[in-house]
Symmetry: C2
Subunit: 231 residues, 2 copies
């Protein structure tokens, strides 16, 4: 499995079996295992089996083992995984070894909620700036930060060295701000704006959409209610 589409020579400065790309579905779950591992760690548990880590993460044990196999072989047959060791290797595979600097654009309710959300710092994400267009809001304190004027977006992104941006702003202005962020050289964007944003290929855009999530729930709820299909 080590080499399928690349020559059968060992990878030089290799940390484990990495280097090969991990399937998207697996990447998404690895973040969940990581969280589960860290909470085991907090409880002082040192070893875990694929079976119980899978249960704690809400997946099947075969899915978990297959996912981990993309990262490397960090378990011991007959025994299980060492929690801290595995956690470190997953973090490395996900690129969480150094901190990422996150700027939030939009200091409305959502932007503020995100800026104050403790979950980021603890997971290797530093919120380094928050912007708003409203002059009434610019200069206000949010968490440890002061709200910058979105007019200074480029300058502040550069100065703070932000390499990720979270868009927490109205749909109407999302595309234009997004364009500026991209032009400023940021390649990783997480958008909460309920619109399809257009970005160049080399920019990674992810979307979180609360209305969509509720609509998906609605679909399933409706299905459950309908009398038909007794199967």
């Amino acid at each position: 499995m080590t080499s399928l589409d690349s020559p059968p020579q060992a990878v030089p400065g290799d940390t484990g079996a990495a280097g090969k790309q991990i399937p998207p579905a697996a990447v998404a779950r690895l973040t969940i295992y990581l969280r589960a591992l860290n909470s085991l760690l907090a409880e002082g548990i040192e070893r875990v089996s694929s079976e119980s880590l899978a249960e704690a993460s809400g997946v099947s044990s075969s899915t978990l083992r297959k996912d981990l196999s993309h990262v490397g072989s960090y378990g011991t047959r007959g025994v299980g995984y060492e929690v801290q060791y595995l956690s470190r290797h997953i973090a490395a595979a996900l690129g969480l070894t150094h901190d990422w600097k996150v700027a939030i654009v939009g200091a409305g309710n959502l932007g503020k909620a995100l800026a104050r959300y403790g979950g980021f710092e603890s997971r290797g994400f530093d919120v380094v700036a928050i912007f708003d267009a409203d002059q009434m809001v610019v200069g206000n304190e949010v968490g440890w930060l002061r709200v910058s004027d979105v007019a200074d977006l480029e300058t502040v992104l550069e100065r703070t060295g932000a390499n990720m941006v979270v868009l927490a702003l109205p749909a109407a202005v999302a595309q234009s701000v997004c364009d500026r962020v991209v032009a400023a050289g940021v390649h990783s964007i997480l958008s909460f704006a309920p619109v399809m944003l257009q970005v160049p290929e080399d920019v990674n855009l992810r979307k979180v959409d609360m209305a969509t999530e509720l609509q998906i729930l609605a679909y399933h709820a409706q299905r459950a209610q309908t009398p038909g299909q007794p199967n």
Copy 2:
């Protein structure tokens, strides 16, 4: 395609080709088409081709056509789709014909942001209650609502007829509140708490996790940075 695992008799009170279950991946995208259609509608555009609706939604046209085929045949060959007509049928397929009543548990930054988020009402979701455990917060105004005491969860859920719950609370209390919500008869839950929640089979739980999203971005950003794999 009409009937594969059910007898070949026509569905009785059928609105279109519905009745059959729609694949999860398609359901998620249908909500996006619906949004795109509604924004076309707002612009006064009456007809659209699969090609341009797909572009506006960020998917390929074949994916779009396949997805729509699960809902029914509402296009005209050689012409395209009538925007309003298609929008109605997708909404019907998703169960968005009647309003859903949403209660939010947790009136922290995130809970407040959600309660005030305009996007819900306009999409058929009514926020009917918001809860918090903190007595300093109970009674406060948030949007059009007053914060209820989470101690009264069961009573208020019943009184307001809430059939969906959004959990916007700390990981530590998420499971116990979730259990109470389930016991109160709610089958659709959207959680923002960064933990794996355990729910019975017949309850639909979806998760939104901002830290996970950033971690996925980090993975891709790291890959893009590494010099290796010239392919």
